[in-house]
């Protein structure tokens, strides 16, 4: 049987692709634009003050997308907004978040945001790491992970 392409089999243990992070100045406007490509909202817009963002997931037009917009006064997304970057991270679920982080760091990735509960995932922990090529990826603790 061919391996499931959604699951990474090398490097960081078993990861399941979840979404592409898409930076924007307006979730509503961006969702309207991406509707042209077949995307539709998956759930309501959420706000995460700890991360300084409001966001919304979209599905249908391709890989799941997470739109992320900075909250007033928040600067987390500024480096990508300034550069006009749209897709700025890949995100994966993992059953063993701490192990996956350790594996990633051993492989040369740098932890840029330590695990913290995320509103988007019902307070499951997420962490952000940077690849040496300067591309960001997110690891999301699967429900029941770490047990």
């Amino acid at each position: 049987m061919a391996p499931d392409p959604r699951v990474a089999h090398d490097g960081l243990g078993e990861l399941r692709f979840h979404h592409l992070g898409f930076v924007t100045t307006s979730c509503e406007r961006e969702a309207q634009t991406l509707a042209l490509l077949g995307y539709q909202p998956e759930g309501e817009i959420f706000t995460d003050p700890a991360q300084g963002i409001r966001g919304q997931f979209l599905v249908g037009g391709g890989p799941r997308v997470e739109l992320l917009e900075p909250l007033p006064g928040a600067t987390t997304l500024d480096p990508w907004l300034r550069k006009g970057v749209k897709v700025y991270h890949h995100a994966y679920e993992t059953q063993l978040l701490d192990d996956a982080i350790a594996d990633a760091r051993r492989a040369g990735a740098r932890l840029v945001s330590a695990p913290q509960p995320a509103v988007a995932f019902a307070q499951r922990r997420v962490a952000f790491l940077m690849l040496p090529s300067m591309y960001l990826f997110e690891l999301i603790e699967q429900a029941g992970g770490g047990e």
């Binding site: 480096p79 740098r110 840029v112 040496p132 300067m134």
Partner: protein
Amino acid sequence: MTLDDRLNEIFRDVFADDSITVDDATTAEDIEGWDSLAHINLMFSLEDEFSVKIPDEDFANAKNVGEIRRLLEEHGA
């Protein structure tokens, strides 16, 4: 080439600005484009140049070039 020379080269390369000259007091406020993303890029570049590995938290907390220099020296640069 001294450590200062190599630091300057790295900063000029990362920020694509040959006019940059840093000293221990230089901070992110002094260099255009030195944001959180550039800080990480700087870390990767410095580690590569000096063949060292600096803990993520230590580099993230470095407030100026002087603190970056001390981290490099502490880790074998």
